[in-house]
């Protein structure tokens, strides 16, 4: 019989604890604070090991989320005064578990009560290993949304307008948008990507990073049919981001005389349109024209719209 590894032994201990009639919260606190782990290395945080112990097992994930919810509540009520390490690990465990049904409410209450110390709090420990607890809290909220109450908060973060308490970067906004409950709103996700593209415009590997952001959305909603090309046009992704979808796409630069009233040209008075390879299919081509027209009509007079669509049709 194969002997158990140190992880297997530790995992068995976690499972026994989870399935015990009254799992002691102090045990969870120890694991999250970095004590009594599987003894594999000294740098992996407790929440990572705990998550690995239940990963792929729905029943155990739910049991662990129930225990995490109890601890969140103790944190909020002040009966638990966690060290920064424990608080950070508890919140990141929520990120990994993604159990909005169990964790959404306690996290929302914590937001209401401002339980987590704000960045720079002079009286409480507000960071662990160089990162604020607020970052971990934003993550826990983003990945455990039971409703869409924070929708606008995420959009604001994407647009570079941090929440006064939560703060937040565009990437927090992006993870928040992906974490909204229910079926994904394609246009919202594409808008979020449009903001992200602007945010990472100066990053050394912006194309790689952008492709990864798209892949994140695809993994978040497996089986979802995305029409990135159309949404890229609709949401005015920058050229390099649109081209990252498929480098063989045909890029057209069309000169359109935009009127002065409300004109919002993309590059001066040039409209740059990337036509996906798939546009050889007449139905798709029509769909693209409609989307471009919709997009333009937000900013320019309808006569210009018609002209643009006509120009695209000629080029295509």
């Amino acid at each position: 019989m194969a002997m158990m590894s140190s992880f297997d032994e530790w995992q068995a201990k976690v499972r026994d604890w989870l399935k015990s009639p009254n799992p002691e919260q102090s045990k969870l606190a120890d694991w999250l604070a970095g004590y009594d782990g599987p003894g594999i290395d000294r740098y992996t945080e407790g929440f990572t090991w705990l998550f690995k112990a239940v990963q792929g097992d729905d029943e155990e994930s739910v049991l662990l989320a129930k225990q995490a919810a109890i601890m969140l509540e103790s944190y909020r009520l002040g009966t638990l005064r966690p060290s920064a390490r424990l608080a950070s690990n508890l919140l990141y465990l929520c990120v990994e578990l993604r159990q909005s049904r169990l964790l959404g409410e306690p996290l929302a209450q914590m937001l209401k009560d401002k339980t987590v110390p704000p960045k720079g709090d002079p009286e409480r420990e507000w960071s662990y290993q160089g990162a604020s607890l607020m970052l971990a809290f934003r993550g826990a909220l983003a990945y455990n949304q039971a409703d869409a109450k924070l929708r606008q908060v995420w959009i604001d973060m994407l647009e570079g307008k941090p929440d006064p308490y939560l703060l937040g970067t565009p990437m927090d906004g992006y993870e928040g948008v992906l974490g909204l409950p229910g079926k994904p709103e394609h246009v919202l996700v594409a808008w979020a990507l449009s903001w992200m593209a602007r945010f990472i415009d100066k990053a050394p590997d912006r194309v790689g990073d952008f492709k990864r952001l798209i892949a994140m959305a695809e993994r978040r909603f497996p089986g979802e049919e995305w029409d990135w090309e159309i949404n890229a046009l609709r949401c005015a992704w920058p050229d390099w981001a649109r081209e990252s979808l498929d480098p063989t796409n045909l890029r057209l630069t069309i000169k359109i005389e935009l009127g002065s009233a409300g004109a919002a040209s993309r590059e001066g008075n040039l409209l740059v349109v990337t036509i996906p390879r798939k546009c050889q299919d007449p139905d798709r081509l029509n769909a693209i024209f409609t989307q471009v027209s919709d997009c333009l009509s937000e900013n320019v007079p309808s006569s210009v719209c018609q002209e643009a669509v006509k120009s695209i049709a000629q080029h295509a």
Binding site: M4, S6, D41, R42, F51, Y143, A203, G208
Partner: protein
């Protein structure tokens, strides 16, 4: 009973009590800590005194040890091993070059969070979800991107390590790791780690890189003691071994009869940007295979020590350790 390889009479003193509790623990790793505290011949009386003085109260002996290592060795700009009371472990004449194995995913895990908070754009798109980060690192470690990625990562690490100190770096000799480089490709990263006492169980899909430093970039360099890591995969080198030779790393997979043992040293965490490495040949993907059970690993290690150290003092020491393990 012995504490730090010195006979003690009064077992009701705090340290013997702590060690006794560890030795009676059902978990092998806690017994290993206890065994090391009993037999490590590298902790001076002054260091022991200091250790006892700063040892915080906690509910279990293992937690007390953890707290010491976290507070006085790892997460401080002035790690305890640099103090004069550890002078006997200072290595005057270290090998010219020393190698450390750096886990890239571990580095990105902490740095990416710091970077997002600090608004550093190049690192601000890593997800907070562990598996998403793994995908990202794997993408960055593809041959076409790897060199630029590592260079940028190590550059930012300079700032990160100022904000978040972490010690020590554990080092080995490049030539003593060579046999692991001829292992089948899929096992190579794991074998390198195992060779120097680093378990990689459940780390499949993570990347490591071997970084080489000239020893004068790392000085002062020390031989490690059991107070410098609180890891069950460390075992002190026997009584009589010379500081120059460093410690002897516990090979976690010694069954494949490696011809050499690997020495180990520690130093304050260096600037990674100062390291030399070949992005094409020094990076390895881990397979995450399980580590052998700890008691087996430690027993094998003692057998290997027995084959190397023939002096009577060393042999007697190994027997004592073996006896206390059982």
């Amino acid at each position: 009973m012995r504490i730090f390889n010195r006979e003690i009479v009064d077992e009701s003193e705090p340290l013997p009590m702590l060690v006794n509790k560890l030795m009676a623990d059902p978990e092998a790793k806690n017994r290993a800590y206890g065994c090391n505290l009993q037999h490590d011949p590298r902790v001076s009386g002054e260091r022991e005194e200091h250790f006892l003085k700063v040892l915080s109260p906690a509910s279990t002996p293992a937690k007390r040890l953890e707290n010491f290592v976290n507070g006085y060795v790892q997460r401080t700009t002035a790690p305890d091993f640099l103090n004069a009371h550890n002078g006997e472990n200072l290595v005057d004449n270290p090998p010219d070059e020393l190698v450390t194995i750096q886990n890239i995913n571990g580095l990105v895990f902490f740095m990416s969070k710091w970077a997002r908070d600090a608004g550093i754009v190049g690192f601000a798109t890593y997800s907070l979800v562990f598996d998403e980060q793994k995908v990202a690192v794997h993408d960055k470690m593809q041959p076409a991107k790897r060199k630029a990625f590592l260079s940028e990562l190590f550059q930012w690490h300079v700032d990160y390590s100022k904000a978040v100190p972490y010690n020590p770096v554990w080092l080995g000799c490049a030539n003593e790791l060579i046999p692991c480089r001829s292992a089948p490709e899929v096992e190579r990263g794991r074998r390198l780690c195992e060779r120097v006492g680093v378990a990689t169980n459940k780390k499949d899909g993570e990347w490591v890189v071997t970084l080489t430093f000239a020893s004068n970039q790392l000085k002062p360099i020390y031989r490690p003691t059991c107070l410098d890591g609180a890891t069950e995969y460390h075992c002190p080198s026997p009584e009589g071994a010379k500081a120059h030779d460093g410690g002897i790393a516990v090979d976690l997979n010694a069954s494949d009869a490696m011809p050499l043992v690997a020495r180990e040293y520690i130093a304050k965490y260096p600037e990674l940007i100062a390291a030399s490495y070949d992005a094409d040949h020094d990076c390895f993907l881990l397979d995450g295979a399980p580590t052998r059970p700890l008691p087996e690993v430690r027993k094998d290690h003692l057998r290997r020590l027995m084959a190397i150290f023939k002096e009577p003092d060393a042999t007697a020491w190994i027997f004592r350790v073996e006896k206390s393990v059982h």
